[in-house]
């Protein structure tokens, strides 16, 4: 009897779910809660206005590459089914490459009206994997160095100068190592770009076995560097330590920095700069799974999300990210003040020169492991 009731209710629930999904666009996103909020509070309602009867439902899978990993696992698990329960997936670069290689994503970009507005190289290449056609960048975020100009009038401009500077000012630079967030990870990648002597290979591949053996000097100098810096617990930990005046410099995500300043959580006098030769940044991508149940609706959603108006109002104005499409297309939608603010500390020229990509996927993992083995211990 109980079993019958259970079966009946299960059946009812399934029918209900199917009938609802006819009008529900399921967007699954990696990233912090702000990504879910962005879709639920901003993008979803706006899209629903133009598409009566459609409900946009956002599911978050958690911050960082771990969030993208969860999306990959969810989609991979239903690989053999005819229809998947995800219509749009927002993922990081590394997982986008892997999913394209495993044929889990649809080649959809040509069918999207805004595809011609995309100019960044990352729309074609994700950490060494050709993803052209499979992704649209949602935004670009960049790692930079935040510093307190009241303490340091002329901050070091390169990794070389920084290494000397921390020797003279021990404990005044802080970062989170490679745990607790990508700001520290990105700082370490930049260090390897500067000192490994193989910056091009690391970013563009091809992967060479035994590459890590050549990194000994760079890692030894990083280990030495770490003796004079303060280790912080995570991205936010670096900003907290700057707020409390414990450190005067540290790597941060530019968007997180601007958001904290806008919220009044960070000393507004702090400034940003990017060390030469370069520090990494990354986009997040809108993708459509290969067996989405509503590919056309998904494309419309992405076209809407990458339109100049939404990129200006949602991505730049609300979240302080750099737009995913070419910024020139967004400029007309922003006031001069807003445009200036976006590039206040870091000029577009510096960003173009020093805003580098993340390492190619295999180097990405190899650098982290080499750090754990040689630097962290």
């Amino acid at each position: 009897m109980n079993i019958r009731i259970a079966l009946a209710s299960l059946l009812a629930a399934t029918t209900l779910a199917t009938s609802v999904s006819a009008q529900t666009l399921t967007v699954i996103t990696a990233g912090d809660t702000n990504m879910v909020d962005y879709i639920n509070d901003y993008l979803g309602p706006k899209f629903e206005e133009g598409h009566p009867g459609v409900t946009v439902r956002a599911v978050g899978t958690g911050p960082g590459d771990g969030g993208s990993q969860a999306i990959y696992e969810k989609i991979h698990a239903q690989k053999d089914k005819s229809v998947w329960d995800v219509d749009v997936a927002v993922v990081h670069q590394r997982m986008a490459g892997k999913m394209v290689e495993e044929k889990l994503l649809a080649n959809y970009r040509d069918g999207v009206a805004t595809s011609k507005l995309v100019t960044r190289k990352t729309a074609e290449n994700a950490l060494g994997v050709n993803v052209s056609g499979y992704v649209m960048p949602m935004f670009h975020s960049q790692i930079a160095i935040a510093y307190n100009p009241d303490v340091i009038a002329n901050p070091p401009q390169s990794y070389d100068e920084l290494a000397k500077w921390v020797k003279e000012n021990p404990g005044k630079f802080g970062y989170n190592g490679i745990t607790g967030g990508m700001a520290g990870v990105g700082f370490v990648f930049g260090w390897m770009y500067a000192f490994s002597g193989m910056a091009d290979e690391i970013r563009n591949g091809p992967w060479a076995d035994g590459a890590a053996d050549k990194w000994a000097p760079a890692l030894a100098s990083l280990r030495d560097f770490n003796q004079s810096v303060m280790m912080t617990p995570g991205n936010a930990g670096t900003l907290d330590a700057m707020n409390r005046g414990e450190i005067a410099m540290g790597p941060v995500w530019m968007d997180m920095f601007y958001t904290w300043v806008a919220d009044g959580r960070l000393n507004p006098n702090l400034k940003l700069m990017i060390l030469s030769p370069g520090m990494p940044g990354q986009p997040m991508y809108y993708t459509v799974p290969a067996k989405s149940s509503q590919p056309d609706l998904a494309k419309e959603f992405i076209a809407f999300a990458t339109s100049p108006a939404v990129q200006a109002d949602g991505i730049v104005r609300r979240f302080n990210w750099f737009p995913g499409i070419d910024p020139q297309n967004v400029k007309s939608e922003l006031t001069d003040a807003e445009w200036q603010r976006l590039f206040a500390d870091v000029t577009p020229e510096t960003l173009a020169e020093r805003g580098w990509s993340m390492p190619q996927a295999k180097y990405f993992a190899a650098i982290l492991e080499a750090y754990e083995k040689n630097v962290a211990k």
């Binding site: 745990t179 330590a241 993992a365």
Partner: protein, 272 residues
Amino acid sequence: MWPGVLLIAPALTAIALLYALPLLRSLITAFVGEDGHPTLGNLAKALEFYGADIVYSILVALGSLALIAFVSIAIAGYLTLGQSRWAVPLLRWIYRWPLFIPFIVAGQTARSFLARNGVLNTLLTDVGLVDAATATSLLDWRGLVLTFAWKQIPFVTLLLAGAMASLDRSTIEAARNLGAGRLRCLIEIVLPQVRPQLLVALVLSLVTIMSVLSVPVMLISGNPTMMTAMMAHRVTFYGDYAVANALGLFSYLLTAVAAWAYLRMSLREKSN
């Protein structure tokens, strides 16, 4: 027999599917290499990369348990043997508060409380006990021990005070009549009688401490740190469940040893 089996079937299925199966899977994954063949490579890698973190986790857990035991015995003892009309009820009312605060909140609070320029050091500087220039951050093993203790003391005290309250008061009163001080009474009369409950509470606390992820992630920068943080790290950055599960194996072993020691002790006590 069948109705009985049917009755427990839902519970049994839930345990099998939600507990035994994942546990088994994680144990197996720890011994499977990338090529699908059995290997000890994951364990070796876990030891090579995170050996220091394993030792650190054990030491932090033991340190926390020592502090927890000491403070809980003191509080529960005072609740049982104290005579003040206002201090005992006040303490009874106040000691449970941390029970209702999630670990992540405790971690966040500790993070701003124990930092170098945090609330604690600022207070100590204001009253002149610490010099601001030489103040150090407590966000290391000390922060972990303090946070774990702060969260677990109420739990252990709750069990311990309950056990003490249900003791036969006549033994305590007899000892008091013969001139034993309250401290001596606590150590020689009360504690030996509640030792099993204290051990259960400490074993449960050990399991909790070994499984908390939020506190080490929020307090500890770099390595060494607790095993949980490194397990999450393996999964987040490498998608490497094998080494994460190998690390998990070490935490199972540690908690299993504690559980085994406890079972042995309680069996011996029963047979006596």
